[in-house]
Amino acid sequence: MQWGEQAPGRPLWRQVLGRVLEQRQVGPNSYLLGLQQPWLAEAGRPGQFVHVRCGQGRDPLLRRPLSLFGVDPGEGRVELLYQVVGRGTALLSGLRPGMDVDLMGPLGRGFPRPPDGEGLCLVAGGLGVAPLVPAAQAWGAGRRVLALVGADTAAELLPEVQRRLVEAGAEVQLATMDGSRGTPGPVTDLLEGAIAREADAGRTGGWVVFACGPSAMLRRTAALAQSAGWPCYLCLEARMGCGVGACAGCAWPAAPDRPGGRFVRVCRDGPVFLAQEVGWWE
């Protein structure tokens, strides 16, 4: 095993092999990859990711960043939730129990632990639900957890995900763009509804928002949370080169009024950011 140090103050990451325990299809194009990797299971935190080498050859070349979906230090097991969207993920889906996967991680800045007593409002768009599940599992006890889960169609709402959220104590609300399940429309409509209900009940605070999903969804989530005065953390996604902050390939605009430069690096400064830290570009 090799290890290195991220930017000062960041936890260690390592280049390690994970032994495939399970490869299971959990949706029409969604897969759960279970890996034996005790060190990663111990070190990983919600919101962090692993940089995965797909295949042994030179093509596809680059690693793929995937959020940690399941982290079980007791079992020494980590899980990744992914869709087959290209050649890299197609190779991943061909892995079978007993095979090894080359991983770098855990990488990035994960979600902060919400303050005691604060409710946790998760806003998930599509596969963005992946990093939010471990957040619910890690910090759901002793607080209200509201999980707002949206997708384009019912087929993309994964039973495995809903089961884990419910087991973590979350109240789960669903939304689909085509109305095939749950509330028709974007998941941010559910957030709007939640904010309105809290306001009607005379409650103006007491919630922290964690969100992950497409850029437009995150932007709307951030705006809604800001209008409600709820702290909001966004888990961003970007194409990556090195994954550790060396190549500057995953730059994202910083919010205009922030000191410290025009761009942040999603792999190293994020992928989790306070909504006010980042700007928008898509």
């Binding site: 290890w3 290195g4 995953c250 761009f263």
Partner: protein, 334 residues
């Protein structure tokens, strides 16, 4: 059988003595904090820092990277902390890694290069400068300095006049003919030539119907460019007598040895580090295994060995047939 001494790996490249010929390429290593330990930087021959410009630059808007067949396009755009930030924050950290450190300097005018060369000349812990000439020349319609012999000559001449440190010039491959550029750099006083930098390329996102990179064009690196890089090393090695650092798609020791046999005294590993943080160290270990397997005393014997007329470097009859570059039990690359 007696104990054979370890093959010699040390080489001299343009005024810098390296303990081995494997270098970490500019722009792929940050400034040493991110990768230092896993990349095994302490064991390598030299490290080249990410290019700096006189003043800080934020870099280009995203997206900045796009995967290509056996490669990647990048349009990072020289995001860097500027000379002052480099001297204050980055160089001290890099210098602590152990191997000689080279700064990489980039500018839009000859005056930019002069400014950087003067500012770096007495920098503590700096072993040399790599001149990056793939940047647009503001005075000449943004055509890169490295595209034409005369602008290249002026830049290198200016840098040469401003410093006594070794000056390596990293050539751009986006040219009709590399040899005139190599000559110009040599005549202007370069101590060594590094080739190649990235090949300019384009990718289009057909769903969004626009270029995949925010800055439209980007630099192609990785295995895809190796044949072009090798060809240029070969051509320059044939044409002139100056130490060469070969780079472009080196992923393992076999690739590296191709560059050495094409005429490179040293090699640099760049994109491979993203894929495998240990790539450069594995290149080094693989070179050692090759030398031992073929009974060679030093890596220097192999420089240019593939050229006609290098018959005295052909494998000796009776030399043990090597089994290839299997993983070694331990590395001993010095």
């Amino acid at each position: 059988m007696g104990v054979t001494p370890s093959p010699r790996l040390d080489v001299e490249v343009g005024g810098i003595r390296l303990k081995n010929p494997v270098i970490l390429a500019a722009g792929t290593f940050g400034y040493g904090a991110e990768y230092a330990a896993p990349a095994g930087a302490a064991r390598l021959g030299a490290v080249v820092a990410k290019s700096i410009t006189p003043f800080p630059r934020p870099g280009n808007p995203p997206p900045r990277v796009a995967e290509m067949p056996a490669g990647m396009l990048n349009s990072v755009g020289l995001e860097n902390p500027g000379l002052e930030g480099f001297l204050r924050d980055e160089l001290p950290r890099l210098a602590r890694l152990g191997p000689p450190v080279l700064a990489s300097i980039a500018g839009e005018t000859v005056r930019d290069y002069l400014y950087l060369a003067r500012g770096l000349d007495a920098a503590p812990g700096l072993a040399g400068m790599e001149v990056n000439v793939s940047c647009p020349n503001l005075a000449r319609g943004r055509i890169p300095f490295g595209s034409q012999p005369r602008p290249l000559f002026r830049v290198v001449e200016a840098v040469r006049s401003a410093t006594r440190l070794p000056v390596w010039v990293k050539l751009s491959p986006n040219v009709t003919s590399i040899v005139p550029l190599a000559r110009a750099a040599k005549e202007a006083g370069a101590d060594a030539l590094c080739l190649i930098n990235t090949l300019t390329g384009l990718a289009i996102d057909i769903e969004r119907r626009r270029p995949a990179l925010g800055a439209v064009f980007g630099g192609l690196s990785g295995p895809a460019i190796k044949p072009v890089a090798l060809r240029m090393v070969w051509e320059v090695a044939e044409a002139l007598d100056l130490p060469l650092v070969g780079m472009g798609g080196i992923m393992d020791a076999r690739d590296a040895l191709e560059f050495v046999m094409a005429g490179a005294t040293a090699v640099a590993v760049g994109t491979a580090t993203f894929v495998n943080p240990r790539a450069a160290v594995e290149v080094l270990d693989g070179i050692v295994r090759y030398l031992k397997a073929w009974g060679l005393e030093s890596v220097s014997e192999l420089v240019g060995a593939a050229h006609p007329g290098a018959a005295d470097r052909r494998p000796r009859r009776g030399a043990r047939e090597p089994r290839g570059l299997e993983p070694a039990e331990e590395g001993d690359g010095g």
